[in-house]
Amino acid sequence: MKNARGTYLDEHSVSSWLLTTDHKRIGILYLISIVVYFGVAAVAAALMRINLLTPQGGLVLPATYNKLFTLHGVLMVWFFLIPSIPAVLGNFVIPMMIGARDVAFPKLNLLSWYLFNLGGACALYAVVWGGVDTGWTFYTPYSTTYANGHVVTMIMGVFIAGFGSILTGLNFLITIHKMRAPGMTWFRLPLFIWSLYSTSVILVLATPVLAITLLAIAVERLWGVGIFDPNLGGDPVLFQHMFWFYSHPAVYIMILPGMGVVSEVIPCFSRKRIFGYHFVAFSSLAIAVVGFFVWGHHMFVSSESIYAAMVFSILSFIVAVPSAIKVFNWTATLYKGSVSYDTPMLYAFGFIGLFTIGGLTGLFLAAIAVDVHLHDTYFIVAHFHYIMVGGMVLSFMGGLHYWWPKISGRMYPEAMGRIAAIVTFIGFNLTFFPQFLLGYLGQPRRYHAYPPEFQVFHVLSTAGATILGVGYLLPLLYFLWSIKYGARAPANPWNATGLEWQTASPPPSENFEQIPIVTAEPYDYHPEAEEEPQPEPQHA
């Protein structure tokens, strides 16, 4: 693994990992953590899907089923999806992409990882000691008054982890503002940076509202009175306003980084400059801002006023526009490009198709009259899984494959990569497409049992989930394999543009021998030329 100057992976001691302030190592620490939480949440999903094979359920008690979907939601949302691209790929790549030696506040970066895992430990403790059955959305008054599980412990877990994500967002914002290399103007930044910048805006502004809302639940539970308590004249629906004020922008925290990955992968594997760079950059900001105006679309049936509902509905249609602009730009980038089907590109294709379906079904739900029928059905479940798994997880996989040579200094086996991507795509669609039909036909979500006429859809879905599981397992295995046996990666295996490819794979601790001076525009690809003009090469 060593080259003449050494890499960031050289030190092997436990303390060199647990006390590191190197953004690259912190990215790897996060990677290990989120894989663990993903595993636990995936087991919960497996148990649910097996339980749903028969109409009367029966694998687990109904109360246990409720704890499983709560666990699945809490871990997947806060302990896998939200940190995934930002804390793993963002931490690793952002400083290199902008030509910096590290993030602005490396110690806060390490602190964020510890807070993240302290929160995770609380959440897992709550699970092991009896679980929580409120759903990841913690709706009042159930969560404040009637639930018997370890609600406060679970909430504390999310609360503490939330501070970790605030610190990550804060770090990225300051890093991107203040630590760009000379010549790296805003419009020379890769679009991954624009996406993560927009994500960081949301992380910083939305997460504190979640924190105080959860704190209010905990206080009400412990004290016996609170603002959501109707006995005092409080309003349980106020919780929903405050919760969704965070949680809707949170879904953009989850998807914007994925879009950023796609914006890197598509130009590279079409050997073509991205179409409409400025449109994509500003769309990221627009999604971050307008995403704060739409939360009421989760509350159409919660006794929200019809006028407020109409405002939220229109705004929800509007927020789809910047996402659509991005899809058009990616597609236009492919046109007349020299497209190759490497694994990252396969995942990017999957993203575009599945995210589009997920996003369009979101528009169905933005129409109030339609939502009244589809709210709290499997249609919603399918909608968000198309975006979160079909979009977000696929893009995370794509990004992980794309930057794996840089992170590990090794190539993953390309044939296995393509097989896994295709298996994931097939498994995903088989799992979740039947759920659109289920929801449309009236099956509510969060039910452990159902009428017999729905069984065929559930069986298909569970079969799909098994295949999807294989699709997830394969990369875990071959990435681990590649660390020891994979082909050694050159500095720039994909011939990509971007400063991170100008330094060795894996990079030295300080990223660059000298801070580069940027003169090239981003995505300086030419499909006709054999070799792309590179920025001033640095000593690797």
Binding site: L205, S303, S305, A308
Partner: protein, 92 residues
């Protein structure tokens, strides 16, 4: 962020202004202005906050970017307040 050293006199003047505003806000609270009591109280609070932010927190001497960061929190809070109260205010 320029390294401006603000004169003690300026700080003192701001401090005196803040204490005066405090006296006014307390005094006005003992006068019945109906709905205006809230407006006056909030107006004075905003004025005090503006003085503290501009002079004590040096925003006046800082970059435009810092102003954006300083204002973002309040702007986003306004979004939450306006849209949520928009729901409560329009329920029948």
């Amino acid at each position: 962020m320029s390294n401006t050293v603000v004169p003690t006199k300026t700080y003192l003047a701001i401090f005196v202004a803040l204490m005066a505003l405090l006296a006014i806000t307390v005094g006005v609270a003992y006068v019945d202005l109906g709905g205006l009591n809230l407006a006056v109280a909030m107006g004075i609070a905003i004025a005090k906050a503006a003085l503290i932010v501009s002079f004590f927190m040096h925003l006046r001497y800082g970059r435009k970017l810092t102003w954006v960061f300083a204002g973002a929190g309040f702007f986003w809070l306004a979004i939450m307040l306006v849209l949520t109260m928009g729901d409560y205010a329009t329920r029948s």
